[in-house]
């Protein structure tokens, strides 16, 4: 086990609830604890509505927390002073899912990228800013001359590169990648993922990589966290997750992924899940996955399983983790 001081980000019992009309509360993130080491990529997977995006945003302080703690280099990101907060927003950045909606159509590319540089006073004078923007565009594989163009002139993949350049502009050390490739074509996805990989190597970046595409997450992540209805079901190294998944939900999720190989596809056995994901406004009692789980027993309906370490670095929240 590594020393705790190696953790860049440590999340303890984080909860984020939203009020949704009447007296109802949507428990988007409901008590999650995990850590990310410096230079590592933690993948977050789960179906829509599992709370993965909310989790990422709350970690950055974009959303207030309901309860728990998010510690970045030991400091609680929700209780920072003004100057500390400013420093944190420079260290931690985000790349959004939709490259069409996340860039201002009325701004030139160079101004979109330079916004952070100006805000953090990282360069003085027009020429220096210009120089930085050009080198950033080059870094993400775009022509430096594109700076004076507008967003609508670019394709989805190019826009996502602009989004990455914007995040890199303030020289962050931690980036939340919120489904950065979901809206892109297969051949472009590989380009973006390889770019993120290269940047991580060159700049020692740490990523929280949120996605619903498990194949891509497996490829890019060191460790993977599986979420369901606001809870962590399993966290382990990406190798172990795919070779020895322990949580029934992880297994069902993995078995649903189509394999691009006709012979393997025919051999594959799917583990079915009963019904649909319940609403996070009214989650089931006990284990959240209990009503769809093929292994559910009486205890699963009553008590909520804790996330426990079963092997080094392999955490599972399941009452029957040993027998199944």
């Amino acid at each position: 086990m590594m020393n705790q001081t190696d953790y860049l980000l440590e999340v303890k019992g984080l909860k984020k609830y939203f009020k949704v009309g009447g007296r109802k509360t949507l428990k988007a993130v409901d008590g999650v604890s995990f850590y990310i080491r410096k230079g590592e990529t933690l993948g977050v997977v789960g179906e829509s509505g599992c709370g993965k995006t909310t989790c990422g945003r709350t970690c950055l302080g974009i959303y207030d927390k309901t309860d728990g703690q998010v510690l970045y280099r030991g400091a609680d990101v929700h209780c920072l002073s003004r100057t500390e907060k400013q420093k944190f927003t420079k260290q931690a950045q985000i790349i959004f899912q939709d490259p069409y909606a996340s860039l201002d159509p009325k701004m030139k590319i160079q101004n979109i990228i330079a916004e952070g540089i100006r805000a953090h006073k990282m360069a003085s004078g027009r020429d220096e800013i210009q120089e930085r923007v050009s080198s950033l565009l080059e870094t993400v594989g775009l022509d430096p001359g594109y700076g004076s163009r507008y967003v609508h002139e670019f394709s989805g993949g190019q826009r996502q590169r602009i989004g990455i350049a914007r995040a890199l502009a303030v020289e962050p050390e931690f980036i939340v990648c919120d489904e950065p490739i979901s809206a892109l074509d297969v051949s472009i996805q590989a380009q973006i993922v390889n770019l993120l990989d290269r940047l991580q190597e060159e700049r020692g970046l740490t990523y929280l990589f949120i996605a619903h595409d498990l194949s891509m997450v497996k490829y890019i992540s060191d460790r993977v966290m599986v979420m369901y209805l606001g809870k962590i079901m399993e966290i382990t190294t990406s190798k172990a997750l795919y070779h020895s998944p322990r949580h029934p939900y992880t297994r069902a999720l993995l078995s649903a992924i189509p394999i691009p190989d006709p012979a393997m596809a025919k051999k594959k056995v799917r583990i079915p899940m009963e019904g649909e994901m319940p609403s996070p406004v009214n989650p089931p009692r006990g284990c959240r996955f209990q009503n769809r789980c093929p292994y559910a027993e009486e205890i699963c309906m009553e008590a909520e399983p804790a996330l426990e370490e079963i092997e080094n670095e392999h955490y599972v929240a399941c009452h029957r983790r040993i027998e199944i």
Binding site: D185, S187, A190, P258, I259, D261
Partner: protein
């Protein structure tokens, strides 16, 4: 190529050219497309955004929005009948009855102010004898077929989840027992688990009813799982066609190869993902020759000048690439 054995084809497209005449110029959506599909089989149509997959599907129903879309030349036959020379009325009798289509986004293909059973009954009333009561009864049966309790027929689309809405759309498409079902990215908007449920269900229904299916997708995993025969499209052209085994185990076109190696695999350990550098060409100004030439790692001088003829590699496998023509 002469065919000794006459295949039983549900649909056949020959040398189809479709253009979109926009204010910014003429965009070539399909550029000499060839396609045939045998009765009862599943054909997978793969390619990236803008390859012309959806336009191909819409052509089979003659639903290309006009203006700006125009079918310039070529022929489309359904059950041996040329649909391009049919009257609008004849065409209407075919849509939803002989050929049905499922669209990508279940949220926008349903009417929000109509109950789902009414929407399904609408198709049935249009094509079949019988009154309202009979059509509604049939609609509820269709819902049961796709795994929704018939009692939920009186609910509105917003009361269903994304996966359930797509099931409703499928029920509507299947309501008149079509011979050909065109499924355009039917599961792209859905989670993997829901996707697997829907695909399993579609496979089951197809086997039971002996339907022919054209499955349009960009997900190679889905075609490997569902399709017997695959067409790979790039920039409005078919670049390779073959059985699933041909395409996945013996890909011949550099684009197909690149596409296959750009996909991360759950079952394999990969050190580095291959990428296809660059982007597909702008079809308002299509390049001369092979449209993939600019991105092709094995480009020959001739590639930029002329599009290669079809090369038949085996009974089932054909490719359009100069590399293959050179080896003949």
């Amino acid at each position: 190529m002469s065919e000794d054995i006459k295949k039983d084809l549900t649909a056949e497209i020959r040398d189809l050219v479709v253009e979109f005449r926009t204010d910014y110029g003429v965009v070539q959506a399909l550029n000499g497309l060839e396609l045939e599909i045998e009765r009862g089989k599943t054909l997978g149509l793969v390619g990236e955004t803008g390859a012309g997959k959806t336009t191909t599907g819409l052509s089979l129903l003659r639903l290309i929005p006009n203006p700006p879309g125009v079918i310039v030349s070529g022929s489309i036959k359904l059950d041996g009948k040329d649909i391009l020379s049919m009257s609008d009325k004849e065409m209407q009798a075919i849509r939803g009855k002989t050929v049905a289509m499922i669209f990508q986004d279940p949220m926008t293909s349903l009417d929000p102010v109509m109950t789902v059973e009414q929407q399904i009954a609408e198709v049935i009333k249009l094509h079949e004898e019988g009154g309202q009561a009979e059509a509604l009864k049939r609609a509820r049966e269709m819902l049961e077929l796709v795994g929704i309790p018939g009692s939920r027929g009186g609910e509105y689309p917003h009361q269903f989840s994304g996966g359930m809405k797509q099931r409703v759309v499928i029920a509507m498409a299947l309501a008149c027992n079509p011979e050909l079902l065109i499924a355009d990215e039917p599961t792209t908007a859905l989670d993997v688990t829901v996707q697997a449920d829907i695909l399993d269900m579609m496979k089951g229904i197809q086997q039971e009813h002996g339907m022919t299916v054209i499955l349009i997708t960009h997900d190679l995993g889905i075609v490997a799982d569902c399709a017997r025969h695959i067409i790979v499209m790039y920039a409005g052209k078919v670049v390779e066609t073959g059985s699933a085994e041909d395409i996945f185990y013996r890909p011949a076109h550099p684009y197909t190869k690149a596409l296959l190696s750009a996909v991360p695999r759950l079952d394999l350990e990969q050190g580095h993902l291959e990428t296809i550098e660059g982007a597909p060409p702008n079809m308002a100004n299509p390049p001369k020759g092979c449209p993939f030439a600019d991105r092709c790692p094995r480009r020959l001088p001739v590639c930029g000048k002329e599009f290669p003829q079809n090369t038949r590699l085996s009974e089932s496998h054909q490719v359009c690439c100069w590399l293959q023509r050179g080896s003949e």
